[in-house]
Symmetry: C2
Subunit: 146 residues, 2 copies
DNA sequence: TTTTAAATAATAATAATTCTTATTTAGGAA
DNA sequence: TTCCTAAATAAGAATTATTATTATTTAAAA
């Protein structure tokens, strides 16, 4: 999603393409590590010293409502946001406090089909997520998915 | 898990079986709806008017450390706790803000096997959770899983 | 029983988030 | 392009959620 695509997306939702919004979204797309509001703030501040923390809170929630970013489900601390809208899951590393993207179309399909077959009465399923929790063996190195 | 089993469990962890702890755990086992600290507090207070909110915070976190209850992963608001330790997943109803238990051994096994087969390098998997997000058709009625 | 380390109540402190309002600005209209 | 206006922002106050502190109480071992 480039700048023009973002602007178009905002316009479609009747939202103004302010400098603050573009910077916040660009930051989210760059970071990729599901940052908190505070982390976005610290990243952006050097280049935008007058931006307000409240604006970042508001901007991110506006994006959630507009369907441009998603909240990340966690068991602790501050809210985290994710600009990766492709169907994907998360690996939670408890010892390093990282949340890493995990993409596996095949697994997603298997689970989706299973649940659709099962049918849940009086309920409309909108999204299915798999959370893989565990810990990095070597916290310094990246995990690698074979 | 009855009272004596709880006492034994606490003793095994070197924790005192205080009245407050027993009441909090009993409440959690009864409620089953993954309550927040505040919800436990309101539920317990009538019968235990001198109990302190801070004690409930502390008690629940003590239970988490002792492995007696688990935190529930959410995208918003206050922390929620779950005393159901059997392997299970959660259905998140966004329109009613409910979190409902979902047990399906077969699905759990399928996903677990799939991920174990895949192997994630430099990472030790401890837990796999499936989150089903959606909305109740009729918010008044329960969902029913066929 | 007595002792004592652990737990609690009460409350202060901190952290995370939301709200309020005066000022600024994006984007449409003239 | 300039003007207009509704929407957005900055700054900071207020609220909510959680954690820390400390004097007092209590479970459970001696």
């Amino acid at each position: 999603m480039d700048f023009e695509a973002i602007k178009a997306h905002l316009a479609k939702k009747g939202l103004k393409a302010t400098h603050q919004r573009l910077v916040v979204l660009q930051c989210l797309l760059m970071l990729k590590n599901h940052p908190s509001v505070e982390q976005v703030y610290e990243k952006i501040r050097p280049g935008n010293p007058t931006i307000s923390l409240g604006t970042i809170y508001k901007t991110l929630e506006t994006f959630v409502e507009a369907g441009i970013v998603q909240r990340v489900s966690t068991k602790e601390g501050a809210m985290k946001y994710d600009a990766n809208l492709s169907r994907h899951d998360h690996i939670y590393s408890t010892n390093t406090q990282e949340i890493i993207d995990f993409e596996d179309e095949e697994l997603s399909k298997i689970v989706e089909n299973y649940i659709n077959k099962k049918r849940i009465g009086n309920f409309k399923v909108n999204d299915i997520r798999i959370q893989i929790e565990g810990e990095k063996i070597n916290p310094e190195k990246d995990i690698d998915i074979i």
